[in-house]
């Protein structure tokens, strides 16, 4: 804060200074302080995302379940009937469904968030609010869909007589780490998309490749040992592997893997938030 507030201030009204943008991780912290003011907008947006999506669609909530179920069917045909894929001793349909849940949360939230600033152009150029609320609202929608699809997973586990242990509580830290990672990518991708629309076009391809670089349809145990140090740098590897361990295998968390994911995700989140706030300042000019 510099000098000119001498004439101003001295009352309870908040005083705000708008300055030219600069890359400033500490400034990003100050921006977080502004977020609680917009909590109501965030809630309203999340509510409406859900209600808009299911309005005028026949299947409604069914869409949240259809995608993982159909993909599961495809992968079961390919990797269980055509090719014998090992699945850590769990029935393959269950194995792949448990991988698809966190994966779809990741891929659909990041894909939707990437285009969101551009698709809300008429709001972005007309009103101010902290722009990160838009991509972050898609993260919440992803979580809601995840919760609904989890019910199907529970039914499948009953069907296959897979018991649940106390280890299932490990889902909480796993999901927390994933949410940090999803938020980080949503922020940075949506900001890049404003300048370079190429990213949105590349998203389906990127997500496809990324899925095969993550243990979704195969167990991590099949990855050759010499590749593992690199393979583990993908935060999704640690997330997917740990999700299956605690839900299906009744094993404790693999802290080594989860730590890698957490550290990478958190560093990425901080960097991408600072980048986002830098871009936000002139977003309305270039969008």
């Amino acid at each position: 804060m510099t000098s000119p507030e001498s004439a101003i201030a001295n009352e309870t009204r908040p005083v705000r200074h708008v300055r030219p943008p600069s890359y400033n991780p500490l400034g990003a912290l100050r921006a977080i302080g502004e977020l609680p003011e917009y909590l109501d907008l965030f809630l309203t947006l999340c509510l409406h995302r859900a209600s808009v999506r299911y309005k005028q669609s026949l299947l409604g909530v069914g869409w949240a379940l259809l995608q993982p179920l159909l993909l599961m069917a495809v992968y079961v045909v390919i990797f269980s009937i055509l090719v014998q894929m090992p699945s850590d001793g769990v029935p393959y349909p269950l194995f792949v469904f448990a991988g698809l849940l966190p994966w779809i949360y990741f891929s659909s939230a990041v894909t939707a968030a990437t285009g969101c600033l551009v698709s809300h152009i008429q709001i972005v150029t007309k009103v101010y609010f902290p722009r990160e609320i838009l991509p972050l609202s898609y993260v919440i929608v992803g979580l809601i869909d995840f919760a609904m699809a989890s019910c199907v997973l529970a039914l499948m586990m009953i069907f296959y007589h897979v018991r649940v242990g106390m280890t299932v509580l490990g889902v909480i830290p796993v999901l927390a780490v994933e949410t940090v990672f999803v938020a980080a990518l949503s922020l940075v991708f949506s900001a890049i998309q404003v300048r370079f629309r190429d990213l949105g076009l590349a998203m389906p391809l990127l997500m496809q490749l990324w899925m095969f670089a993550s243990p979704v349809v195969y167990p991590m145990g099949r990855v050759p040992a010499r590749l593992l140090p690199w393979y583990e740098l993908n935060p999704m590897a640690g997330i997917l592997e740990n999700f299956r361990r605690v839900v299906l295998l009744r094993q404790p968390l693999d802290y080594h893997l989860l730590w890698i994911s957490l550290v990478i995700s958190s560093v990425l989140l901080m960097a991408s938030y600072a980048y986002f706030k830098l871009q936000e300042a002139t977003m309305a000019d270039v969008i």
Binding site: P4, A9, R13, H17, I123
Partner: protein, 406 residues
Amino acid sequence: MIDLKLDNVSKKYRIWQEEATHHAGLLRKIRRRLGGGNEFWALRGIDLEVKSGETLGIIGHNGSGKSTILKLLSRITAPTEGEITIRGRLAALLEVASGFHPELTGRENIFLSGTIIGMRRREIHASLDSIMDFAEMRPFIDLPVKRYSSGMFVRLGFSIAAHTQPDILLLDEVLAVGDVSFQRKCMDHIEQLKRKGLTMVFISHDLAAVERLCDRAVLLEKGQIVQEGAPAVLAGQYLTRIDRSEELGEQRESTGPLGLRGLEFLDIDGRSTLQFRTGYALRARVEYDAMIALPAVRFRMLFKGIDGSAQCEFLTGDAEMPAAAAGRGAVEFCCEEIGLQPGIYHVDVLAENEAGAVMDVKRRWAVIHVASGRFTHGAFYSPHSWKLEAAQEAAQGAGEMPRANG
């Protein structure tokens, strides 16, 4: 106490010429995207202060930087240089309806748009009835807004915005909202807010509204403040600047027997002015030089809107044309109650001979500004009188006097 302060604020835009980069290599494309493009300073070194409770008007032509100031104040975009200080909650009464989601109902959109402009859900709940009533939308509130007419859209949008409780309000051409009676309602609402002591910034080229609302105004030209002062004085300045900045049409010296020399507009007391009001008097004096004595001359004065459409004409003698003696002379037009609606008008003056051939013409010779005066519905104001036919003896005398409406 100062609510808004701009300290040496500048804003630079980059303009990319997409056609030019179309065939360029990928690397050059990326480089241009990141740093290149033509620079364009939309605002340069703006210093401005708005005191608590004051209403500041910002006027200027299109492209003068008005809307950039608005975008900076409402934090839609950041300045390139300088610092803006905002004390208190600021809301912009702009196109709120642009935030509407077509699939959601009116009610849902009230919450969405309301929270976008910074209201709490609690506040919205509390003023929901009042929002619906102000917009006159209660029966349609649970329909998806994609079924709304554009008028309904805009009314609901304004109504939401009108229910925010900011410390500082930004207004931008809001008066162009909906039909006449709703515009009136908006204006009343804004005046009410002003009386409550709200700090306001009003950006417009509707000079009449600026004069009516603002305590002080600044005139913006090419991204800089060129003048500051009382709104009425600035409105005049603005008009003469239009005059200078725009290409004047055929302004050749006349070679005919009669040349138009001077034009002056006067108010009812004979003072020179370019400001008039709908339904009040206007006088115009045209000076000419006649080489020879002319048996018949017709002077025509044509008022044209900013789009060039002819709006109204004054004429000397239609059937019987006056004669003009050789030498300097003047013709004076006088209209007791002008019908021109509020706005800006260019004035053309023509002199014709008895055959209807043009002897001299001055196109866009002056620009006048008509502010709102007597309010009427419809396309134009028409002078009229009225008389009340009351029961016999009580109204004697009073009933005989024609009265102007107002």
